[in-house]
């Protein structure tokens, strides 16, 4: 007997994952609202003020991160957006794949990417030295002693 267009997933997954879906859902909304502010602020400062995209260079970034305000802003944005996007990707994977190895691998990849990038990004922001020794002075922010 041929049947086509069968549902992708044959049996309802046994385990329940507690309130995970609920909190994920709530998180998407809360982070979404905050991200609107953070991302629009980010885009405004980076692309709209002054010369826009042409102003961006090492000096520009260094100048921003010298200010703890922008450090917090960007780290917050980093965390919220990655987790938001990562969870969104998880939803997408859930929708288009059936439980099994492929799904596990995809979700694992998303999770790894999110964790690695959050760690990397956070480290970069907080361990960032705006005036690395031995760099050409014209590349550095204006407040560096070398500049």
């Amino acid at each position: 007997m041929t049947t086509i267009e069968a549902p992708r997933t044959p049996a309802r997954s046994a385990g329940r994952n507690g309130n995970l879906e609920k909190w994920a859902w709530i998180y998407m909304r809360v982070s979404g609202v905050v991200l609107v502010v953070l991302i629009f602020g980010h885009l405004w400062v980076n692309l709209m003020v002054g010369e826009g995209v042409h102003a961006i260079d090492f000096g520009f970034v260094g100048g921003k991160w010298a200010d703890p305000f922008w450090k917090v802003w960007d780290v917050l944005m980093l965390w919220l957006a990655l987790i938001h996007g990562g969870n969104g990707m998880r939803t997408v994977v859930n929708d288009y794949t059936k439980p099994g190895r492929a799904q596990k691998i995809l979700k694992g990849a998303i999770f790894a990417a999110v964790v690695i990038l959050i760690v990397l990004g956070t480290l970069v922001v907080f361990t960032f030295d705006p005036c690395p020794a031995g760099s050409p002075a014209d590349l550095l922010p204006s407040f560096c002693p070398a500049a």
């Binding site: 007997m1 041929t2 049947t3 086509i4 267009e5 069968a6 549902p7 992708r8 997933t9 049996a11 309802r12 997954s13 329940r16 994952n17 309130n19 995970l20 879906e21 609920k22 994920a24 859902w25 709530i26 859930n94 929708d95 288009y96 059936k98």
Partner: protein, 255 residues
């Protein structure tokens, strides 16, 4: 007076009878005994503007091809047998009139999506009813009413869940939901609608159990508010709104 043969002595019609016109239907056929895959087949049918799609299917079955297979019963939109995709949207064949469609182009008819196709316009409804049954769609109350008396419920309490009592389990909503197509495991809007009907019934006190069931990975959170369900519902139930209310109730932890 010979009323029994009324038609015979009805006065000759002065106004001209409406003329039928030819409408082309392109129907997605699938015969499990012979076809490996579904195929499209055209039929030309003489129709009147006030005819329903169901009339067209009947005309085809009765006059052209007896093997065309579909479900139907009541023919006026209350039994939920004949949900199908008409010009790419889920509709009841018995509630869709020719005059409401653009007949300059052929009308496409195919089975609803996301449930296993069995034959022509018939799909296997079992997974759909399974989800329905899983939300415990029946009144559960710990306290017994006074013997021989009804439980008291105010007009306002009754009104809260009125909308979702209208459901005829036609599956038009569930099979229009993009999330359901990709993942047949999602409970689907119809099951949530029927859970809503009891969650918000003041006489029931097992709302918590149903909310727990729907707090599942395949439960309410799966809904991405695409509104296809609301637009497909032949009973005019505000399905997405009902789902939103259930989401709120899950967050609150009670109805």
């Amino acid at each position: 007076m010979s009323t029994a043969t009324l038609e015979a002595d009805a006065p000759a019609p002065e106004i001209e009878a409406p003329k039928p016109f030819t409408v082309t239907f392109i129907i997605r056929r699938f015969d499990p005994d012979t076809d490996a895959e579904a195929r499209w087949q055209d039929f030309d049918v003489e129709m009147y503007a006030t005819d329903r799609i169901l009339d067209a299917l009947h005309k085809i079955k009765w006059e052209q091809d007896g093997s065309l297979t579909f479900r139907r019963s009541c023919a006026h939109g209350v039994c939920g047998s004949d949900a199908m995709r008409i010009n790419g949207r889920n509709r009841l064949a018995c509630k869709t009139l020719i005059k409401d469609l653009d007949i300059t182009k052929p009308i496409y008819i195919e089975a609803i999506k996301g449930l296993p196709l069995e034959k022509d316009l018939i799909v296997d409804m079992e997974p759909f009813f399974q989800s329905f049954r899983e939300v415990q769609p029946f009144l559960q109350s710990a306290t017994a009413p006074e013997p021989g008396k009804e439980r008291v419920q105010s007009v306002a309490q009754r009104a809260i869940f009125d909308d979702t009592t209208k459901c005829i389990l036609c599956a038009a909503c569930t099979s229009s939901c993009p999330v359901f197509w990709t993942d047949g495991q999602y409970f689907g809007p119809a099951a949530i609608v029927n859970a809503h009907r009891f969650i918000f019934d003041s006489r029931d006190d097992q709302a918590k159990v149903r909310l727990d069931i729907l707090n599942d990975q395949e439960g309410v959170w799966r809904c991405r508010t695409t509104f296809n369900c609301t637009e497909a519902c032949p009973r005019g139930i505000e399905v997405t709104k009902a789902i939103a209310e259930v989401k709120q109730a899950v967050m609150r932890g009670r109805a």
